[in-house]
Symmetry: none
Subunit: 186 residues, 4 copies
């Protein structure tokens, strides 16, 4: 990616998350990115294309953090905890991207095409857990509920440590995971 294109994405991420899509003007984005307004429209046909490309980019970042895990020799709980921790850590370390994803995952500005494209990638990654889910020591809940429950747990955990940063430590992190695990395990 070109340098200026990246700068525009970075600026948009920050501003869209802080002030919302309509609340952020393209002039502000360009200024923050250190480019001319015309340059923004050189790389992105419209403000809508910008937010869609940004959504794709942030979800791809999240995917990168969680892929390549799941060791069949380890107990399922450990594998799941690693996934859960990856997600929570992403939420805390890359909080701009995480907040952006949360805020815009049901925004009318993100087209269904964008959502489909990235959702397909995500499902590929989670497929491996689906198998574990069925065979292991997990409650007889259907996959979708379990995944929504997992994501809900991640979101509320990240939210929580965002509100009370002084509580963020290994112990409380374990505690939060146990809340989730004890809910979902038999």
């Amino acid at each position: 990616m070109k340098e200026k294109e990246q700068k525009i994405l970075d600026a948009s991420l920050k501003l869209f998350t802080e002030r919302g899509f309509q609340g952020t003007s393209t002039a502000e984005i360009a200024k923050t990115a250190g480019v001319a307004t015309g340059t923004l429209f050189h790389y992105f046909k419209s403000k809508e294309e910008l937010i869609n490309r940004l959504y794709f980019y942030t979800k791809e970042s999240l995917l990168t953090e969680i892929s390549a895990h799941c060791d069949d020799k380890k107990p399922f709980k450990e594998n799941l905890k690693e996934l859960w921790l990856d997600l929570v850590n992403f939420g805390i370390n890359d909080s701009n991207k995480f907040q952006f994803i949360i805020t815009f995952h049901c925004s009318p500005y993100i087209t269904s095409l964008t959502k489909e494209e990235i959702e397909n990638k995500l499902e590929g990654t989670l497929e491996v857990y689906k198998k574990g889910l069925k065979e292991q020591e997990i409650k007889e809940v259907y996959f979708e509920l379990a995944m929504d429950y997992l994501w809900g747990s991640v979101v509320s955990t990240v939210d929580h440590f965002g509100k009370y940063p002084e509580k963020f430590n290994a112990h409380n992190l374990d505690l939060a995971f146990e809340l989730f695990w004890d809910g979902i395990s038999k």
Copy 2:
């Protein structure tokens, strides 16, 4: 409340939730409410005051749904389930209000004054559970984490049944509560 004032609040609730604050013009609100633009500004000093009063109003509605419960003679789990169910049912039946609360609870347009005023009321209502929490068969988690965990559970449950309405039935509702309960109980 005057009839036109109420119509404006109803129209705002619908439009703000669907299109966001900046995405909704006062002209559209007035048109949807069936009043003139001038009338909107007669009842609400500004668009910002409108959304703040709306936020207060929707959170009050939520409070109404959950207050006056908690019977000391019943087991704590049952009391908690009633609270959880009230919240989930509110989320499903009054989905506009619920979505509005979720969407705008961290919006920059809601002043901290508005948030404080309603948060105080909410805390009063939840106080009674705080006591139960400490004495009962609940994990040794601190109150804030438990409450965030509860709210997270409600949100993901409502989201889930919003996505898969065909799965919404008493059995799956119980299932979803058990996920939560088994997480939080000792």
Copy 3:
């Protein structure tokens, strides 16, 4: 019509004719009309609607000038001369409107709907001459060629007296009509 609406039409007529559609900014129109830019868009949904309403309005003005003539008792030549003179006089006295019609009659900004609506009215008015044309001392040319020839004669006459205003007098006007008449008569 409202006063400001009329002022906007007047300003547009002048500016569009002088500088063309794209060459005239809505800001200039508003300024010339003595209204705010917002007011322009209050009365006209878009710049395109403005030019279409203006086209309709100018052609209606032209129609007003030529209707209600054609006396069956007079010789056809006299009736035709009256029509021809009405058109030429309109072109000279209302030169802004006339120039506007000429300039924009095949502009892509005027929709076919607009053209149809006004063309129907025009045809009604000219119908009476169609009859005369067929029965009278006119060459065996088909109606459309005759009408295009008439209009062409009017346009070149108006253009001519626009270029050489000092030549504009009753004598030369008669001369110009005879050029036309001798061409079309048997």
Copy 4:
């Protein structure tokens, strides 16, 4: 002329005629011509210089079509008909150039310098008819009126056959010329 320069002129001719000067962007012209935007500005200092050189070029094309005629031995009517036919044929065969000339002959983008330069050339060519006009079987109209009348006849004839292409044949072409001739002849 360089190949790319010619391609740019061709593209401009098409686009300016279809969409007007302001309605055509230099980027579109470059794209249509198959060159980079920078290349356009290499050959033409500015968009205004481009349209002026284009105007000169199209009027030169027209001149080429009509020059080298006027045979003193033939009757004047025949010479004039040849001129008239040359102009009409140019208008029908090179309709882009003809339309361009019509559209932009009174455009503010064409400088008076450009107009003068080409007008001088044109007058040279028409001079020979001026003589014929005075001595021949023509009405006592002054030269300018006659020339404007001629041009008006050409324009309305071309317009007419553009509107009704199915009427374009030798017979109707003669008919149209007779309209003109009978008008102008004694």
